[in-house]
């Protein structure tokens, strides 16, 4: 038993941090349910019978493009996630399991990707996409996000693969299991918690990204939700009801995906394999 004081202290610190992290989000969600006057009049108070209004949601959902924005965000996020996880896991397996010429250099090269932000290459990326004819397509976004997500995915998954007992792979080899099947049927199922972690790590920045949709997409049919929300922000008039409602809605899918994956974040999947 730890002393009560330290317990209280730890919870106080954690509580304060939670408050700090949740407060802005709470503020957005809260105000999205208020009338325009109430938003400015008393931004910190929760909606009451007088100030409650769904005007923002009506406007957002009534907007013909918002559905497209959401769909685009979904396609881009899930598409990138799928490929980041697939290629990330395969690359991590190859880099940890097989020693080949230049494998260390390759691992180093990939880890540079963690350190150097991909936005530094924005100009080159725009040129590249234009020359490849991918300008203003979702494909362009997916490709960029795969490149952005891969280094971290490989890094985390390599660590997890290292922890999978070597005997398991050796046993599968003695059993006559082909290498690709060892990866997909022995290693991949054991990587589930790691894959869930990486999925969450990958999805959130992609869903929230404004930069690449801004420079790579131009037509409304390819806008993502974060970019789409910008149309409610005008130079002279900003439709705060719509902005807050759209942002609140934009939070939802990420939360749902997180809840789904967090169920996988249980450790101890390898229990019973060894020892």
């Amino acid at each position: 038993m730890r002393p009560l004081v330290s317990k209280v202290g730890v919870h106080a610190v954690l509580g304060a941090y939670t408050l700090l992290a949740v407060f802005p989000i709470l503020l957005v969600v809260m105000n999205s349910f208020k009338t325009r006057n109430a938003i400015f009049g008393s931004p910190l108070s929760p909606p009451n019978a007088e100030t409650f209004s769904l005007i923002g949601y009506h406007k957002v959902l009534g907007n013909a493009h918002v559905g497209t924005y959401f769909a685009n965000s979904m396609i881009v996020t899930l598409g990138s996630m799928f490929f980041v996880l697939l290629f990330g896991a395969m690359a991590a397996w190859a880099l940890t399991e097989y020693k080949f010429k230049g494998s260390n250099w390759l691992a180093l090269y990939l880890s540079i990707g963690i350190m150097v932000p991909i936005r530094l290459g924005s100009v080159a990326i725009v040129t590249m996409m234009r020359e490849a004819g991918l300008n203003d397509t979702l494909t362009a976004l997916v490709l960029v996000y795969i490149a952005q997500g891969l280094p971290m995915a490989i890094f985390i998954l390599s660590e997890f693969i290292e922890q999978i007992p070597r005997d398991l792979r050796d046993a599968a080899r003695c059993d006559g299991v082909p290498e690709t099947r060892i990866f997909f049927e022995v290693i991949a199922p054991l990587l589930r918690p790691a894959i869930a972690t990486v999925a969450v790590f990958t999805i959130v920045p992609i869903w929230n990204d404004l930069w690449f949709p801004l420079i790579l997409t131009s037509s409304e049919s390819t806008h993502t939700i974060t970019l789409g929300v910008q149309q409610f922000l005008g130079q002279y008039i900003t439709d705060w009801n719509s902005v807050l409602a759209a942002l609140s809605l934009a939070i939802l899918p990420v939360v749902v995906i997180y809840v789904l994956f967090s169920r996988q974040l249980i450790s101890g999947l390898t229990a019973g394999a060894v020892k």
Binding site: C174, D175, G176, G272, A273
Partner: protein, 362 residues
């Protein structure tokens, strides 16, 4: 079923030499145990037989086929790991059949093999369970079952009992022995536990520092160890050694004495020791006795007594030599401080020359 032949096998990682010129021939159906201290290369040798580690040079033959360049799955071997290495996300039955799936074996044959193995290892009630719901002993039986269904030419065991508790270790050991009788398969078994080695093996291969120290039947290793290493390694507690010099040689009799060893004479020593040659005299704790009347005698002070019930170990000091252990049977146990005279029969003495090689005593 097949023979296994290892020819001038070497293994090194860069500068580090792991195995040096291993020659070993194992006839069909023999149970061979590789035993040695950790780092002696026994596990590496097993992994090379399995094909999990590459060969630096030399050859491995299973049956008549040179298998150096074959994948593990093509060698007709099955391996049981110390850690069991079961697939944690598959139930017992799938664990056993997973490998067969890729061999294109017809389903009825797969079912028959699983049923046979499950019956042999009493796994029938466990077939639908996951590894995490099994006890250690059950897990190891599943791992053995997974090896059996492959019907391999050679079974390889890598310290399969090391993770089990003492009681399970004994019962699983007995099961492995029975299994060998039943399957009559060639088996290679790695362990650092000499009791496992002695009880299971048809022949034991004692390894030390990447080389084979001696190959022989369990009792041969115990009664006629070929060198100092084997003499010290086999037997528990280990053999006692005394430094000695050849004093005199007359006819068939040789007289030896050492700083802590009163002079004694042996008959018919089958070597030609020059007078003055340095030797080591070894005698096992269980062969030292306070009542025997051999010509080999030491006078010793008892420093510590460990009572185990049936036997007791007396730690005694002879002159300035570090402790000597004597095993005492029955109720007559000396107490600390007693001075005892210990003796051993001639045939229980092991004499090693300067290079540590055995000198035959008849």
């Amino acid at each position: 079923m097949a023979t296994l032949r290892i020819d001038k096998l070497n293994k090194s990682y860069g500068e580090a030499v792991i195995l040096r010129d291993i020659d070993l021939s194992i006839p069909d159906g023999e149970f061979v145990v590789l035993v040695g201290p950790s780092g002696c290369g026994k596990s590496t040798l097993l992994r090379m037989i399995a094909g999990l580690d590459g060969v630096t040079n030399g050859d491995i033959f299973i049956g008549d086929k040179r298998v150096n360049d074959l994948e593990p799955s093509q060698r007709k071997i099955a391996m049981v790991f110390q850690s069991y290495a079961l697939y944690p996300h598959m139930n017992v039955k799938k664990n056993m059949t997973f490998g067969l799936k890729f061999s294109g074996m017809p389903q009825p044959e797969v079912d028959r093999r699983v049923a046979d193995a499950a019956r042999m290892l009493r796994l029938e009630p466990l077939l639908d369970r996951r590894p995490r719901d099994l006890s250690g002993g059950q897990r190891q039986r599943v791992a053995i079952g997974r090896a059996i269904v492959r019907e391999p030419d050679v079974f390889l065991f890598d310290e399969p009992l090391s993770n089990l508790d003492a009681a399970l270790r004994v019962s699983t050991r007995v099961e492995i022995a029975k299994l060998h009788k039943l399957l009559k398969a060639t088996m290679v078994y790695v362990t650092h536990d000499q009791i496992e080695a002695m009880t299971l093996a048809d022949r034991i291969v004692v390894m030390n520092q990447g080389q084979i120290a001696q190959v022989g039947k369990p009792l041969d290793l115990y009664y006629t160890p070929a060198n100092l290493f084997v003499a010290g390694f086999i037997g528990s507690p280990g053999m006692n050694f005394f430094d000695a010099t050849v004093d005199k040689k007359e006819g068939g009799a040789v007289t030896l004495s050492g700083p802590n060893l009163p002079a004694f004479t042996l008959d018919a020593l089958h070597f030609a020791p020059t007078v003055g040659a340095k030797v080591k005299v070894g005698v096992r704790p269980e062969h030292l006795s306070a009542t025997a009347t051999g010509r080999f005698r030491i006078v010793a002070a008892v420093e510590l007594v460990e009572r185990l019930g049936e036997t007791s170990f007396a730690y005694v000091r002879v002159g300035d030599q570090a402790q000597i252990i004597a095993e005492m049977k029955g109720r007559e146990v000396p107490s600390v401080g007693d001075v005892v005279t210990l003796s051993a029969a001639d045939r229980d003495l092991h004499i090693f020359d300067d290079a540590g090689q055995r000198v035959v005593v008849d």
